[in-house]
Symmetry: C2
Subunit: 84 residues, 2 copies
Amino acid sequence: MGRRPSYLDIVDDIRRQIVSGQLAPGATLPTCREMCAAYQVSRQTIGSAMIVLRTQGLVVGQQGRAVYVTANPHHLPSPADSSK
Amino acid sequence: MGRRPSYLDIVDDIRRQIVSGQLAPGATLPTCREMCAAYQVSRQTIGSAMIVLRTQGLVVGQQGRAVYVTANPHHLPSPADSSK
DNA sequence: CCACATTTGTCCGTATGTATC
DNA sequence: AGATACATACGGACAAATGTG
């Protein structure tokens, strides 16, 4: 069937860290380069994951600084599950 | 200041067509190629716009066929306004 | 069933812009 | 001025699904 795209995998992973409190509100995500190394993907792929996370309102990116966790919502929309 | 990215421009445009009923539920979006030509951008940029629209639940893409408008919700979250 | 074209979706490498330090 | 970091964009490539013949 449909292989799960890498960027949705990354979204899921970071989302879990936010929900579990491992990444508290106000915390910063690893740098772009570190995430590229950690997940073994390109910046574009990280960028796609960030688009999803920002659209869901889980994080906010600030240019030149970092990507911050915005909040710890009670219960989230589908885990970026557009492909069923 | 912050220039508005092309892909958010596209999101906003398509979203307006959906909300206004110009693109009814079940309708298909133009093909990827047509949108590239219409907005004068690359497929990646269209792809980024589609990620946002899918994450917001406005459309569903089906490989090999088309992208379908899912529903006409009453009111939507901020128009992909992650950057203020 | 198989070959082929079309279309959506994803990914990479690279480049550029912008903001912060 | 330079380094660092996030954000966007292009072009090319390949995979997956669909439809047609």
